[in-house]
């Protein structure tokens, strides 16, 4: 009898583990997708994990695990919780028990204070079950409520393997990082079919909510990958930079040699208006193979990346003068705000590398709300209490200085390279602004040129970096080639930084 029962159990478990109808498994192959349990095999160490609620909706017969696997196990030796949709079961849609399982694995992650990874591939709500899964206390809304609660408590990672539709699209939206598989991942509130029916728009899925679109244009995606295997290895790499939860600090590794041995001095051009490649500069400062960039394809005029400097994790926010002159735009400000918050939540010190002509001006960006978006970046930077080092690489003009952790925002130190210039605006713009009328009055072009040159030179003397250092505006001037060593030393020395936050609920964030 006992034996019979265990045989029966084994048979039932096997049935559940097979997932949905074989024809949907065939479809996965055509789409270059892996079956959910193959994904979990790759994600967990030795492919081993403990599953919760495998028998959900078992008696219904056709809905193995109710279309979602929730599990706990080790990844890179660290405990993680996982939710993974099974698109072979009713297209990975959410029924009442699917939602309950997701809510429970979130609660587990919160109780254990461990990261959670969402492997998303789901058509959204199961309309036939809506009363049981949509509006109630432990309905789908609770998933998002939990995500918001967990935000900044434990790392939340989303791997988008397929669709993430309608309400389900908010799972990625509330994660710290969204890794999207090109061609297969998509995210949208209304499908193209719905858009045509409801608003009359004809648009392809790729244009509407494809992975590339989200990584380049909307900014909903952080990392575009070519395959599911790559997505999983990117998630593993990402988590190396993070502690298990907010109460811990990121793990220090052994220091490595720097990524590039080129002298930094040579990479910064003499002409302050000429572009250069900030990636090359970053490579002279960080450890080899330690660069992990967030939102590489989105707002590339600003670089946000995790790295290691002598083995310590450092978040880098750097202007990229090669793209749009390194000017800050609506999207770059948003990108920075989220990155800075993410670093601050998990004790990742921040390095700002400034070469910024300012925030963009003009009617286009004012209508886009450049001031409102810029305020988000400044608020995030200002309220970050992790060690912050600001380095003025070349120019830091206008509110650009503020946004890049300028002296007023209590960076632990504001360093200037000898090429640094700090001012409300550059010499050309300033002379034009102050002397516009006078310049207009001078008729002889030679005299006009001479006057402008004279005023520009006076202005340059006024913003000379030694003058700024002697006024204690910048704290130190550092030779470019010494910068890595200075950063290594200072980040180590600032490790014990602790800022007591003023007693209040929270700031009213500009959004």
């Amino acid at each position: 009898m006992q034996e019979e029962l265990s045989v029966q159990l084994k048979r039932n478990v096997e049935k559940i583990r097979k997932g949905g109808n074989p024809k949907y498994h065939e479809q996965l192959k055509v789409q270059n997708k892996l079956f959910v349990r193959e994904r979990l095999q790759l994600l967990f160490d030795n492919g081993s994990y403990q599953e919760d609620g495998a028998f959900a909706n078992f008696q219904e017969g056709e809905l193995p695990a109710d279309g979602v696997v929730t599990a706990i196990g080790k990844m890179n030796g660290r405990t993680i919780c996982v939710m993974a949709n099974d698109s072979t079961v009713k297209a990975g849609s959410w029924g009442a028990r699917t939602v309950e399982k997701i809510v429970r694995i979130q609660e587990t992650a919160m109780n254990l204070r461990v990261p959670i990874i969402y492997l998303v591939d789901s058509a959204g709500a199961r309309i036939t079950d809506q009363l049981e899964m949509f509006p109630n206390r432990r309905g789908a809304g609770r998933i998002f409520h939990n995500q918001v609660k967990m935000s900044g408590m434990v790392p939340q990672i989303c791997l988008l393997f397929g669709p993430s539709a309608a309400g389900g699209a908010y799972i990625p939206a509330f994660c710290d990082i969204v890794i999207m598989v090109d061609k297969n991942a998509s995210m949208y509130l209304g499908s193209p079919r719905m858009a045509e029916k409801v608003i009359g728009e004809r648009v392809s899925l790729e244009e509407m909510g494809g992975a590339r679109m989200h990584c380049e244009v909307s900014g909903c995606g952080d990392y575009l990958v070519a395959s599911e295997q790559e997505a999983i290895s990117v998630a593993k790499r990402y988590l190396h930079y993070f502690p298990q939860n907010y109460a811990e600090k990121p793990e220090k590794k052994d220091g490595a040699k720097q990524a590039s041995l080129e002298p930094l001095e040579k990479l910064i051009p003499k002409n302050p208006n000429a572009p250069f490649n900030m990636y090359d500069c970053i490579n002279t400062l960080i450890d080899e193979d330690s660069f992990f960039e967030m939102k590489k394809l989105f707002a590339p005029e600003l670089i946000t990346a995790f790295s290691r400097i002598d083995g310590n994790v450092v978040g880098i926010v750097a202007n990229q003068p090669r793209v749009k002159g390194g000017v800050l735009f609506v999207d770059s400000a948003d990108k920075a705000a989220k990155f800075i918050q993410l670093c601050d939540a998990f004790h990742i010190p921040l390095l700002f590398l400034a070469d910024v002509p300012g925030f963009m001006i003009g009617s286009k960006v004012e209508r886009d709300g450049i001031i409102r978006h810029g305020a988000k970046m400044i608020a995030a930077m200002s309220s970050a209490t992790v060690p912050k080092i600001s380095v003025i690489v070349r120019k830091a003009f206008g509110a650009g200085l503020y946004a890049m952790a300028g002296p007023a925002f209590e960076p632990d130190i504001c360093l200037a390279l000898p090429t640094a210039q700090i001012a409300v605006m550059g010499p050309e713009a300033a002379v034009n602004a102050v002397y516009a009328k006078k310049i207009e009055e001078i008729i002889d072009p030679k005299d006009k040129y001479a006057f402008i040159q004279k005023k520009q030179n006076e202005y340059k003397e006024h913003i000379d970096i030694y003058k700024l250092a002697s006024e204690l505006i910048v704290d130190e001037i550092v030779a470019a080639n010494d910068l890595r060593n200075v950063l290594i030393n200072r980040f180590q020395l600032y490790e014990t930084k602790e800022v007591l936050v003023q007693k209040k609920k929270h700031p009213v964030y500009p959004v």
Binding site: G325, F329, P357
Partner: protein
């Protein structure tokens, strides 16, 4: 295929003429904006069929600069 302006600014230098062959990634125009030189790279290879701007023109973000065939 068109080359569009990446941001608002003034056309500082036109580096190509009608009939020129352009490679993907080649700098075709330099804008001046926010007192910075902003190189505009072509996202496609092709032959310049039309130039919509002259040096000194103001262009807004996403305005067309060149047409390639």
């Amino acid at each position: 295929m068109e080359v569009l302006s990446s941001m608002a600014g003034t056309v500082f230098q036109l580096l190509v003429s009608k009939g020129d062959t352009v490679e993907k990634g080649q700098i075709v125009i330099i804008l001046e904006s926010m007192k910075m030189e902003i190189p505009i790279e072509s996202e496609h290879s092709g032959i310049v069929q039309e130039i919509y701007v002259t040096e000194g023109d103001f262009v807004n973000e996403a305005e067309r600069l060149l047409k390639l065939v």
